[in-house]
């Protein structure tokens, strides 16, 4: 029986965010925005969803008097991503 794909990750932008975060220690909001090509509004919404699910941690601070949002993947987020990739590989192998 196939594992269901995590609906939270099976979304283009959220998967892009988590894939990015898997490869970095932490990343600023503008970096994620640039790499994913998302709009600020959409990115904010998706980051909030991922944060609420406990997949990423968001830290708000200031740099040179400007607000700075930094994101970091959590252990739960890493586990969810690994499970998602395993499930994906299962689907792809059966389709072949």
């Amino acid at each position: 029986m196939f594992k269901d794909l995590d609906p939270l990750l099976h979304s283009q932008l959220r998967l892009a965010i988590v894939s990015l975060m898997m490869n970095v220690d932490e990343a600023e909001f503008n970096f994620i925005k640039k790499k994913t090509g998302a709009t600020s509004g959409n990115l904010s919404v998706q980051l909030t969803k991922l944060k609420d699910a406990g997949y990423i941690a968001v830290e708000k601070s200031f740099r040179d008097n400007f607000p700075l949002t930094t994101c970091k993947i959590t252990l739960k987020g890493k586990d969810a991503f690994e499970e998602y990739v395993k499930a994906l590989v299962g689907y792809i192998q059966v389709k072949k």
Binding site: L5, H10, S11, Q12, L13, R14, L15, A16, S19, L20, M22, N23, V24, D25, E26, A27, E28, N30, F31, K35, T36, G37, A38, N42, Q46, V85, L88, Y91, I92, K95
Partner: protein, 191 residues
């Protein structure tokens, strides 16, 4: 990037791959640092050799005073870049560790040189350059740095058995193969 588009598993894999690729460490971005240290050390060693063994100038070692100036430029540049960097990565930390460790080693050797003499120190410089280049090359899978690092270690080992005059020539060779040539071979698209 849209969030609602219908898509399949193969596209998911492709997206994951492309996101991972965008965060991959590119040594090409650090090419200037390899050129700066490589050419500066090569020129200083050449001038030292020329002044000391061709022109018989007794204070030929003064050419190395350019190095602390270069170190200041280097740390100011790295500090600025780090402050403005929007992301921190595991490879970035590895690079900091490897090259920071090498700088610490060189600093300790410079202090020790007043006690043990420069003849004993130059071969260790080459060993340090070599190990840092080798470790970097292995970490980022860049074969020219791996080979250059190994060649620099060989130069360092040979230098232990040579008088200072030949140690300078070996230092030039070590710097050429471990810094200058790999920096020239770094390609924007691949590294």
């Amino acid at each position: 990037m849209e969030n609602t588009k219908k898509w399949d598993e193969a596209e998911s894999i492709q997206l994951i791959r492309s996101m991972i690729e965008t965060t991959r460490y590119k040594v090409y971005a650090d090419r200037f640092i390899y050129f700066m240290w490589g050419y500066a050390t090569f020129i200083c060693a050449s001038l030292h050799y020329l002044l000391a063994y061709v022109l018989n100038y007794p204070y030929a070692y003064v050419v190395w005073l350019a190095m602390p100036v270069l170190a200041v430029v280097h740390f100011v540049m790295i500090g600025k870049r780090k402050k403005s960097s929007p992301v921190s990565t595991f490879t970035g930390r590895v690079m900091e560790g490897v090259w920071g460790g090498m700088f610490m080693g060189i600093f300790a050797l410079i202090i020790a040189s007043f006690h043990v003499g420069w003849e004993a120190i130059y071969p260790v410089f080459m060993l340090l350059y070599g190990t840092a280049c080798f470790a970097t090359g292995k970490a980022i899978q860049f074969k020219y740095l791996v080979w250059g690092g190994m060649a620099s270690v060989v130069c360092g080992t040979v230098a232990f058995y040579q008088p200072f005059q030949y140690q300078l020539l070996l230092l030039m060779l070590a710097i050429l193969v471990s810094y200058i040539l790999p920096a020239h071979l770094m390609q924007k698209s691949e590294n």
